[in-house]
Assembly symmetry: C2
Homo-oligomer: 130 residues x 2
Amino acid sequence: MNIKFNNRDPVYIQVIRHFKEQIATGRFEPGQEIPSRRELANQLKINPNTAQRAYKEMEEQGLIYTEGNLPSRITKDASIIKAVREELILEAVNSFIASVQSINVPLDEALQLVKNNYENFTVEQEDIHD
Amino acid sequence: MNIKFNNRDPVYIQVIRHFKEQIATGRFEPGQEIPSRRELANQLKINPNTAQRAYKEMEEQGLIYTEGNLPSRITKDASIIKAVREELILEAVNSFIASVQSINVPLDEALQLVKNNYENFTVEQEDIHD
DNA sequence: AAATATGTATTAAGCCCTTAGTACACCTCT
DNA sequence: AGAGGTGTACTAAGGGCTTAATACATATTT
């Protein structure tokens, strides 16, 4: 468990986002046990209450579930998992289109830019902070 | 002047973002006079101090300039204007790539999604709030 | 039984952003 | 000279998010 936090979004939102990514890609499998609130807080160096808030929202959204006071687990509902992935993708696509259209970047140019930067992107990211 | 504000980013950040878009696309021309702090606040229904904060940061970044106590103007520095456009584009591209890679969307699929949604995007946006 | 770990809940404080109200110096226009 | 608009600056209050410090019931482990 490792999250690169930025300073503009609330931490609990970024935690939820990270879990959604893990669920959408299958790195978190259905029914898989996840860290307790306190353990997650320790791992991420955040406050237990912040972890609790993230978990609470995820539980309300059906992303995770908790039986009794056992460690929470990833949902087994395939339709939710599928919806999460589609939500993330749609969000990324719409956000990108809105951005490039707001600065009048034509479709061809936008596609070309993505193509040119996709492969070696992870490498470049090492220099990016915040 | 019309900005659709969201609730997650600080208002003065969104104002700056809007000005950058206008500058990058040439809708704000070099040397063009811009609304005073108070007038902008009136137009956008925000507090004059928030407008002041946005203008102050833009002045520090060289996006606008102020001579005496005359209304501020858009920079005439072509290199800054070019840099703004490139910054916005790079930001959009990197953000998009980071998003799709985090959920393992292959390049081909990502490009196809952008292509499929680019044309009719402005229409769909009418239903989107917040 | 005792200790530990779990989920859950409450209260308080601090920080950032926004809003609000005010103030001052400067310039332009009447 | 006076009025109005400009940039600029300051203090104060409120809201949302985070952090902090506890607290409690339950289940598991020792």
